[in-house]
Assembly symmetry: C2
Amino acid sequence: MPKKYVIIGGDAAGMSAASKIRRMQPDSELVVFEKGQHISFAACGIPYWISDVIEDGSKLQVLTPEIAREKRGIDVRIGHEVTQIDATSNTIAVNNLETGEKIHEAYDVLLIATGARAVVPPIPGVGHDGVFTLRSLADGQRIKNYIAEHEIKHATIIGGGYIGLEMAEAYKHINIDVTMVEMLDQIAPTFDKDILEKVTAHVVEQGVDLQLETRVDAIDKSEQGLQVQTSAGQIQTDMVIVSTGVRPNSELARDAGIALGNSGAITINDHMQTSIPNIYSAGDCAEHRHLVLNEDIWIPLAPSANKGGRVAGENMVGTATRFPGILGTAVVKVFDYTVAQTGLTEKQAREAAIFKDIESTTISAGSRAHYYPGSTPVTIKLVADGTTKRLLGAQMIGKSDVAKRLDVLATALTAGMTLEDIGMLDLTYAPPVAPVYDPIHVAANVANK
Amino acid sequence: MPKKYVIIGGDAAGMSAASKIRRMQPDSELVVFEKGQHISFAACGIPYWISDVIEDGSKLQVLTPEIAREKRGIDVRIGHEVTQIDATSNTIAVNNLETGEKIHEAYDVLLIATGARAVVPPIPGVGHDGVFTLRSLADGQRIKNYIAEHEIKHATIIGGGYIGLEMAEAYKHINIDVTMVEMLDQIAPTFDKDILEKVTAHVVEQGVDLQLETRVDAIDKSEQGLQVQTSAGQIQTDMVIVSTGVRPNSELARDAGIALGNSGAITINDHMQTSIPNIYSAGDCAEHRHLVLNEDIWIPLAPSANKGGRVAGENMVGTATRFPGILGTAVVKVFDYTVAQTGLTEKQAREAAIFKDIESTTISAGSRAHYYPGSTPVTIKLVADGTTKRLLGAQMIGKSDVAKRLDVLATALTAGMTLEDIGMLDLTYAPPVAPVYDPIHVAANVANK
């Protein structure tokens, strides 16, 4: 008898799994429950939609519930919140948010793909009108509407991570002044501070009022709009984005007795299986094996949600595919700069107990042959094990040709290459695209000295 | 007693070795003999100098003999042609081309870095004024002068390889009409024909009169200039570039009893040593180990000349560094397209005896998120071993973000990755730089089905 598959969460991981299951078992019973109104949307595109760089917001919907149902034969139920998993009876409790009806749904194999949610710090006034988090398409629509309906001249962004930086650019793009308040002494806290020097200066040059090492104490209503009270003074503003991080939606799993990791996200094996064998998990609610640390870590990013969802789907129907793990490879466009990383930062490597001797090297070199027009400096920081000379991580910034160049190092990292191996890689060379010694070679050779 | 090092050839390989030797043994005796007037020049930049994209030709000289002597302490003797190697007495015979003086120079350790030369096919009239090959800076200067001194409205390029294609773009850039005559049924013959379809159409759209499967029979002088007689008719033209390939300068080595490979280039081991232990070779005159074929092959390109020269220098002074080998990674800009390859083409893989079951897959996918402006199609062809699913080679074309994306596959190839490994690589994703499934993932996943 074919199994019945139930998926909690209709975003990248859930819909990747659903699509895979449907392709592999066209006749199986398959239900996806999604709390919100949208499935499978490109969250990373939202800042560019807010700034009108992407004009048509519907393009951010990779898949609609209608298309999922009609074209892919997936029974997607939006507006349905799963409130409980009973792993003994293999049933879930579901709340139809529209009708208030409560149902129970049985499963043979379950996937928890509940994702993550924005962390809202307990700042007094964070619930005022005009204060937003940004995670879902609905959040994006709310922000867009608020901008359209109010005369917004100034926005305050709390938090200088990826989303904060992308929103700063988005606001400046539509001529809204921006103050960014960050508690730490650096933006983009997943990077080592030292490699961000030029990018940080660039953010300020672009007119962002950047306030580092600043704590937000309260958000007050004022006659002119909102007033953000910080450890450094007051900011008069028209709207506030709180982008201070995310947290895994793992409570359902925890309450069902499923093991969580130290991060609070769901522990899975390389077949995406939780501690309960017929319950799988994928996406931002789960930890993944870090290929350099060789331990489970929570880095919620879209690529692992998409790939992990697919692998979960394959394993749920009985194909023993392996998800190898992640490097935390990430990239963010910060105005004219691209900032990318893979593997461990120097800070992370020094904190990791398994490495005794950490070396780091930072170089700058031209993106193209020095004599060819349009060459721009690329700065690379390599982190290596001083004993084995194995690469442990890389960070890269520059105005062009950064992301895929960083990917070369992500691939080298996956293969466990040493600095010498990297220095000898046979990479493309032609004056318009790269110097004969690519910045990657330069970095590896300097680091290997 | 310190050894005496002699290097034949002052281009990338020779000067890389010399610089390395000088740094490692500051007090050793070290002489470089160079037949021409220039050392260490960026040959790959010459087409862009001819087209004035690079205005200052002196920038193509990475190192001048004066700077090499004064700043680096390397005794460089330009205008000196080595005419014989006597491996029994460890001496070479040298001709001072300026004075006619013949000298003998003893060595303890010798490097042959004589490079390659343009092949001139035995076409009647190939010696006429206005017919050029392009290999050295002097060739480039001759072509530039000829264009400056004559009213050039039309040029004919014989041969559709890298240099021919770059020269076609160079001519069009300075408003000179171009006819390209190629004997084969495709341009860029190191690529599989099928991946070049769009690029070939693009070359024609750019106004190049492309004549494939056409043989040049003669070059005649005519009243209006030159007349190229081909198997398809006559071409009235003002100048001709013969870019029909290169040949290794290995005669000196051969005459000294040094073993050559099937290609006619010098055989070396992974310490860059020839069959005579105190004679090394590097650069375009030598074969290199191909990392996929695991056999020696002659692919004369700048990256291996630079790296191999350095490794030769290290080994010559007694440090046993290994040159791992090459993949034949190469890239060429063809007007708006970038065309790149690494490892084996499908044709090469099918011809290689060690692979029994060859699979190839070609896909096109967007360079960025589909909803982000500026995404352009990237076409990728993967060649894999059907039995092991190991990647054997990759080719890529597109209008942007091609070269370093291809380098990801060069790195995967070096590591011996399978299609599944590549499909799971944790690569950068953000709407402005890549889709969540990079074209690389798409290609690997489709190929792995």
